[in-house]
């Protein structure tokens, strides 16, 4: 142990670094890479939203806002969620504006999870839920989801994992990294189990606008579920606003006020310029957003069909902007596949096991890339695969 690391707390020292970070360093050392490894839109924030932010700065909006966020923004969020998921939230005390959904998830875990409490996390999933749980001394319990089920959470798998200590279920749909979604009937099958075992649901709906078949449905909209669900959403994915770090949580006033207690001591409030931009996005951003979604959808089909043509099996993702093909036919594990693909063909994709052990044997490929880059990357991957076909 080096001289200063002995001062770091055990829980942080033992936290594994993100599997993505390791791969990031490798990619930045290579020149001329086509990257399908990003986790954000390839659009810049629509101009009218950026312009609204300049205007607010010109007018001198450079100060703190209320801890909960600008009331004007919370009112817009309430209207949006009412329309989107058909659940009514009171802007006064049921909505908290946060620094991205990442902060909101952290706040909820810290407010709800104590030592020994179990948090049920469907995997493969976004990288922060498990460490977030560990940091509150809770116990992360992975729930396997499978390609054969299109990465939906099966009720039998949920029920088997529940113990008297189970407290929170995370439902991150549409899912990064698989693009899986939960349809109305899939969610309905979970509701009785959730109520019977008195679970709280953290529903991370950041990719909800990027649903390509049917409408996004939230678990909060089922009878008896509103109070026991915290809905997270934000602006990063739908409005191409990742760098603005602006999101929110909606839920029961008791939970939101507990989250706000932590938020006020650690963050104070989300940046006012991002909040002003978010108001503009909700008021006037739908047209641009729909165009972006159509555009992702075209590229989704392009990537999916390209993978199938070069012999990769891939379930059809119906949300987010990722494909999650199986690379088992190569005989390599995920990390080896990604490292060699990068070295030999200069294509960056993310190893599936960075999103949980059951992502082993898969890779995450983001189709928020230009058409020419997607086509070029698939061609290179095709060459790579024909060189390395097992047997």
């Amino acid at each position: 142990m080096s001289s200063m690391s002995r001062y770091i707390t055990n829980v942080v020292r033992e936290l594994p670094p993100s599997g993505i970070r390791k791969f990031f360093d490798l990619v930045t050392q290579t020149e001329g890479v086509i990257s399908l490894g990003v986790g954000e839109p390839d659009f810049v924030t629509p101009w009218h939203i950026r312009e609204a932010c300049f205007y607010s700065l010109e007018k001198g909006y450079t100060m703190y806002t209320s801890n909960m966020g600008l009331l004007e923004l919370r009112e817009e969020i309430a209207l949006y969620e009412q329309k989107k998921i058909n659940v009514t939230y009171d802007p006064e005390n049921e909505i908290l504006v946060t620094v991205g959904v990442s902060e909101a998830v952290d706040l909820a875990l810290r407010a709800l999870v104590g030592p020994g409490d179990e948090v049920l996390i469907p995997e493969p999933c976004y990288v922060s839920y498990t460490p977030g749980t560990t940091l509150t001394y809770g116990k992360p319990v992975p729930l396997m989801t499978y390609e054969a089920d299109e990465y939906r959470l099966r009720p039998d798998i949920l029920e088997q994992a529940i113990t008297p200590k189970s407290k929170v279920l995370i439902l991150p749909y549409p899912t990064n990294p698989t693009g899986g979604i939960m349809k109305e009937e899939d969610l309905k099958a979970l509701v009785d189990i959730i109520i019977k075992h008195d679970l709280i649901v953290l529903s991370d709906e950041i990719y909800s606008e990027l649903t390509y078949e049917g409408e996004h449905v939230s678990i909060a909209s089922f009878p008896g579920m509103k109070d026991r669900t915290v809905v997270f959403n934000g602006f990063s994915k739908a409005f191409a606003m990742t760098g603005w770090r602006i999101g929110y949580a909606c839920g029961h006033p008791d939970i939101i006020s507990a989250m706000n207690k932590i938020h006020q001591y650690t963050i104070m409030c989300a940046p006012i310029m991002s909040q002003q931009a978010a108001i503009e996005a909700l008021r006037h951003g739908e047209g641009e957003m729909r165009k972006m979604v159509d555009n992702y959808n075209y590229r989704r089909k392009l990537m999916l069909s390209g993978f199938r043509e070069i012999g990769l099996t891939c379930f059809e993702p119906r949300g987010a902007f990722y494909c999650f093909p199986s690379i088992k036919s190569s005989g390599m594990n995920s990390e080896e596949f990604c490292e060699r693909l990068l070295q030999e063909e200069k294509v960056a994709v993310v190893p599936g096991n960075a999103f949980g052990q059951c992502g082993e044997g898969y890779i995450r490929c983001c189709y928020a890339a230009s058409v020419s880059n997607i086509e070029e990357a698939i061609e290179r991957m095709g060459k790579f695969l024909s060189r390395h076909k097992k047997g």
């Binding site: 490894g37 954000e40 089909k301």
Partner: protein, 162 residues
């Protein structure tokens, strides 16, 4: 016409998309897309394809002028005859009928200012319907058909992120 419109929107953004790519993106048969594009071309919904080039960067010193033209409309034909006549000059790139203080907006591209001056004085002003012209020379192009000239579009994202 719904599918045709989708094809047109895709081609309007990027004329280099192959029929195969378009077919995949729209989940259609490639031959069907080829037929649609041919039909749209034949029926002049697609008038042509061109390329937006930053000639200034290559040091080419062409001159562009936008000329406001007041004309006398003709019985039966209104502005159409004279507008079509002006459109036939090869140096004329765009002709629009405008509301407001003048009638036609004519965009002209030539090698030198002299050539534009000669075109205005010898060809345009001498048409009998033309009452007057006001010529504005373009000093610098910033944006054309969706493309910014100054700022090259680069991907500023981290190469790998969660």
């Amino acid at each position: 016409m719904k599918l045709e419109k989708k094809v047109l929107h895709l081609l309007e953004r990027d004329a280099k998309l192959s029929p195969k790519t378009i077919a995949t993106m729209l989940e259609e048969d490639e031959q069907k897309i080829i037929d649609i594009i041919k039909k749209l071309e034949d029926e002049k919904y697609i008038l042509g394809y061109n390329t937006i080039i930053n000639w200034e960067r290559l040091g080419e010193d062409g001159v562009t002028a936008m000329i406001d033209v007041k004309v006398t409309p003709e019985r039966e034909f209104g502005f159409n005859n004279v507008a079509e006549r002006i459109s036939r000059f090869p140096e004329v790139r765009c002709v629009y009928l405008m509301s407001g203080t003048y009638d036609l907006s004519v965009t002209v591209c030539c090698k030198t200012m002299k050539e534009i001056a000669w075109f205005v004085s010898h060809k345009l002003s001498t048409l009998e319907q033309v009452q007057s012209t006001t010529t504005h020379f373009v000093l610098k192009r910033y944006k054309q058909d969706d493309f910014l000239f100054e700022e090259p579009v680069t991907d500023k994202r981290l190469v790998v992120s969660p």
